[in-house]
């Protein structure tokens, strides 16, 4: 009898547990608040974050969560956007890796706190620029130690940059260096492509040993170290207005110890051997999973897919504050653990328990966090104000992010070998002709039919604003005072479709039974599966276009990344939604990828030759020009062309949101730090509540 009672009790307990668990949790009960509309920056000089408003507290009661304060010496950072491909700074060209390297390595200069276009000395004490802006000379700070014990000398700086250019992995950031030192014509995809372009040879294998040696020597001549004088001189192909930004990041920063590198089997500085280290796979570099920089943190270990652990560098050189009130000396938090956890629920649970000091919160989950923000801040703690009295989170919100999402319209779609994305490929109601988007009225119609506000409210929970063109708000070239060229207007959309003339008979479609308005069309918009934002953008576009005419049909198709990449490369996708985050803060880094004929996204547009030549010319001119006033005119012109010609659907510029435990102090937001939220740990402290 006793055993039966026990069994019954056990079963009932288990059932109660399961059913009890099915009750919605308080945190999910409160309806999400809609974040207030974005306050646009007013001064026009910087895309500064607007002052955030206090979170809405009328969303229902939340049960009080009291995370447990843990080890004050360890910072637990839980990201959710992937982990590094490598920790080799010359190989890295993604934010997960560069944000870790930012703590391990240093460049000649560094960003001034939250500014991404003002700089402070780092490994260089001072620098001078020649009058023609083609040379810069840096005084290297003496007495700086590397993590493994070496001493920084000017030749380490030269070695780092020369090695990076000669390593030049495929699709790496070295293209920026080639452009800097050798000009835009040699801004190629890898050192092998660079060598081919340099020598004019068709195949890398055809380049002679003497030519290879000559390339290396020319690379060496661009960065010259003088250990006696303590200087490094750089010689540029043309003035580089954004050079300090490059020097502050791993593109040209992240200085290595030459002696240690050679001892450990890396390039021996011999111009006859460099090809052994050219274009390596990530894992072939000795820095793949080890580091020897001068930064405030050392790499303790990286267990891929599990954790990266950094420890404070006890011999860190900085004795004076980086800026007024800034950090100095050895890092206050002695240990940083960075874990990537993909699952949102798990991250949130760790945050609620107090085991995580930071978690990555995608835009879609920010309304959920609104309920628990106890302290609400802007770009730093000087702007903090009280939020929900029961809240346990310190939220930094409405942070202007250098990130634009655009719908790329393909003006000349490839139909070779068939193209399922454009149906029949004809103007017969079951497809579109390849030059569908070559008609400006079609492009205007697609813009008029896109509900920008719905996109921002639904996908970004209100944390974004409509983009004006390829140039960021507040940046040189942005057309201040002008609203975006388009807004959601179905009537105008209909009017534009009726003005199109796809059969080119001179009769507008609204009056032509053989044209798009009467015949209708079918096309597919593809997005890579798993990217919810792109899916939503595509669906909003579909809904807007289909609403104006029942004969218009758009299918939104999710496809694996591999298929998406291949179809895009073939030029077969009629519309793709893409995003760009800047490498360095300059309009060149926006105009080039979005509009240049060989740019990352520009090459998917397939502009007509004359327009392409005009745009390419302006971009090259803007890159060479040193007079800021003249540059401003050039980029404003590019911005205007992108609007007048309706080159893309310029969707939105996103705002970022960062969430720390209340006990973490010292955070400031600098969007140049890659994963800005989890990037620069040096200034942070943990203070027990």
């Amino acid at each position: 009898m006793k055993s039966k009672i026990f069994i019954m009790f056990s079963i009932l307990t288990m059932i109660a547990l399961v059913l009890g668990g099915c009750q919605p949790l308080a945190i999910n009960e409160a309806p999400p608040t809609t974040a207030p509309a974005q306050d646009q920056p007013k001064d026009g000089s910087e895309p500064v974050a607007p002052e955030p408003s206090a979170p809405t507290q009328s969303g229902g009661s939340t049960s009080k969560i009291n995370p447990k304060f843990g080890n004050p010496d360890t910072l637990m950072v839980i990201t959710g956007a992937g982990e590094p491909e490598t920790l080799e700074p010359s190989w890295t060209y993604e934010t997960a890796g560069s944000s870790i390297e930012l703590n391990l390595y240093e460049g000649l200069v560094f960003f001034k706190r939250e500014k991404f276009d003002e700089f402070i000395p780092a490994l260089a004490t001072e620098w001078t620029t020649s009058s023609d802006k083609l040379e810069m000379q840096f005084m290297i700070r003496p007495g700086i130690k590397f993590h493994k014990g070496g001493t920084l000398e000017p030749h380490d700086v030269a070695y780092t940059l020369q090695r990076s250019m000669l390593q030049g992995r495929l699709d790496g950031h070295q293209t920026i260096l080639y452009e800097t030192f050798f000009g835009p014509d040699l801004a190629t995809a890898s050192v092998k492509e660079f060598s081919k372009a340099y020598t004019g040879k068709e195949n890398f294998e055809d380049i002679t040993d003497a030519e290879l040696k000559g390339i290396c020597e020319d690379v060496k001549s661009k960065v010259i170290a003088d250990d006696t004088a303590g200087t490094v001189t750089m010689k540029f192909h043309q003035p580089v207005p954004w050079i300090l930004s490059l020097l502050a990041q791993n593109f040209m920063g992240a200085i290595l110890d030459q002696e240690w590198m050679v001892e450990n089997g890396d390039w021996d500085y011999d111009c006859t051997t460099w090809t052994k280290w050219a274009d390596p796979a990530a894992e072939d570099s000795i820095l793949f999973n080890q580091a020897n920089g001068t930064g405030p943190y050392m790499l303790d270990h990286w267990t891929p897919n599990e954790e990266i652990v950094l420890t404070a560098f006890p011999d860190y050189w900085r004795k004076e504050p980086m800026w007024e009130g800034g950090p100095s000396g050895v890092a206050k938090i002695s240990r940083v653990v960075v874990k990537n956890i993909d699952e949102w629920g798990t991250r949130l649970a760790m945050f609620e328990a107090g085991d995580a000091d930071y978690i990555y919160v995608p835009a879609a989950y920010r309304p959920q966090m609104d309920q628990v923000i106890g302290t609400l801040c802007g770009i730093d703690e000087s702007s903090c104000q009280d939020g929900n009295p029961d809240g346990y989170v310190k939220g930094f919100r409405k942070l202007a992010q250098p990130f634009i999402t655009a719908g790329i319209m393909n003006w000349n779609i490839n139909v070779e070998g068939g193209n399922p994305y454009i149906g029949s490929g004809e103007l017969d109601g079951n497809g579109i002709p390849p030059d569908f988007f070559n008609d400006i009225h079609i492009r205007k119609a697609f813009n008029d039919c896109f509900d920008f506000n719905a996109m921002i409210e639904e996908s970004l929970a209100g944390e974004g604003f409509q983009a004006q063109g390829p140039i960021l708000k507040g940046m040189m070239g942005y057309l201040e005072g002008q609203p975006p060229a388009f807004s959601y207007d179905p009537a105008k959309c209909e009017q534009e479709f009726k003005l199109a003339d796809l059969d080119k008979d001179g009769v507008p479609a609204g009056e032509d039974e053989d044209d798009v308005w009467s015949r209708g069309f079918y096309l597919q918009i593809a997005y890579n599966t798993g990217n919810d934002t792109r899916q939503l953008s595509s669906e909003i576009l579909k809904a807007g276009v289909e609403a104006v005419n029942p004969k218009f049909n758009i299918a939104v198709v999710g496809m694996p990344w591999a298929v998406m990449l291949e179809s895009r490369r073939q030029g077969k996708l009629p519309v793709t939604v893409v995003g760009w985050v800047e490498d360095f803060h300059d309009p060149h880094n926006w105009a080039q990828p979005f509009l240049f004929s060989q740019g990352t996204d520009g090459r998917a547009i397939n502009l007509p030759a004359d327009l392409s030549a005009q745009i390419d010319g302006l971009i090259l001119q803007g890159a060479k020009e040193t007079d800021p006033a003249k540059r401003k005119v050039i980029y404003e012109n590019l911005q205007k062309i992108s609007q007048d010609e309706v080159i893309n659907i310029w969707m939105y510029q996103a705002l970022d949101g960062i969430h720390w435990q209340k006990w973490v102090d010292g955070f400031f937001y600098n969007p140049a730090f890659g994963n800005a939220e989890a990037a620069f740990f040096y200034g942070l402290t943990k203070v027990a509540p």
């Binding site: 274009d279 874990k339 990828p593």
Partner: protein, 354 residues
Amino acid sequence: MLTYIIRRLLLLPIILTSVTILIFAMMSLLTPYERASLYVSDIPKQSGALEGIIEKYGLDDPAPVQYWYWLVGRTDPETGEIKGGVLRGNLGWSKTGKGDVAEVIGRRLPATIELALWAGIPMIAIGVWLGVLSAIHHNRLIDQLLRVFSIVGYSIPVFVFGLLVLLIFYARLDWFPPGRLSDWAAQIVQSNNFTSYTRMYTVDALLNGRLDIFWDAFIHLVLPVITLAYLNWAYLLRVTRSSMLDILRQDYMTTARAKGLIENVVIRRHALPNALIPVVTVGALTLIGLLNGVVITETVFNYPGMGSFLSEAALSLDVVSVLGFTLFASFILVAGNLFVDVLYGAIDPRIRLE
């Protein structure tokens, strides 16, 4: 029996070769550009980058050539080194796991074995016990309750159940955290003062005499174990119950009772051994499944096992990782099946392996 085992083991290379050829053939249906996507995490910044990747990794070589390279390795034209080559003992580089495939499996397997063992024991023991209980109380209250219990377990998605227990027992009650170890314990395990014999932390902790580490590792296992066990109890319960019911209706059971044997003996000696044969099959296959990783449970509980690794590798079209894992999984499956066959003979002497 020995001949049988040897014969089965001799089949292993054939099975492994067939499986890898099949996977390779399926992968070769993808274009080189699609396979190059593994090496780019975003749209290539430069035109020509994908072509460069294809050339670099030989992705446009004929499939048999690529398979041959996978078997014997490939010479690096710059350094002259031979890279990869399964026959040279090198399963290749896992882009997903960021290590040699064998090393990645070696890193993740102990976690998976530890979870499988901890989950397997209660899963099988309690599942069988509940099944027997349900059968011998056929159509009575306990049976009904257990059937509800099993239906509930079968119906709840792993993902939902896992997240619920995580939010309740970790975020709210702070009893059972996710992951494998707390940060303080991880530091000790990674230090020189702790010897990793098996990389199974509960085992290593005992071998090192560290009960605090054992306890920490144990409480990290509780939620994934409960999740896996509960969802599998339901299945084992139902299999055991129906098998037991079938046996309990046999004539020899009536004979046993007629002989005056007490019910416990009838059940334990006469019913259970016969009812266990299908249960052994199901239990063993479930355990093998656990050894190959459990993707959702590992994801929810941030448990770095084999399942999440394979899932990520497959989604990224990481052929080398998928092939390496397949070799491993096939080996486990063949060995596991062999073990089950041998176990049949032990449970039921009427079964002879020839």
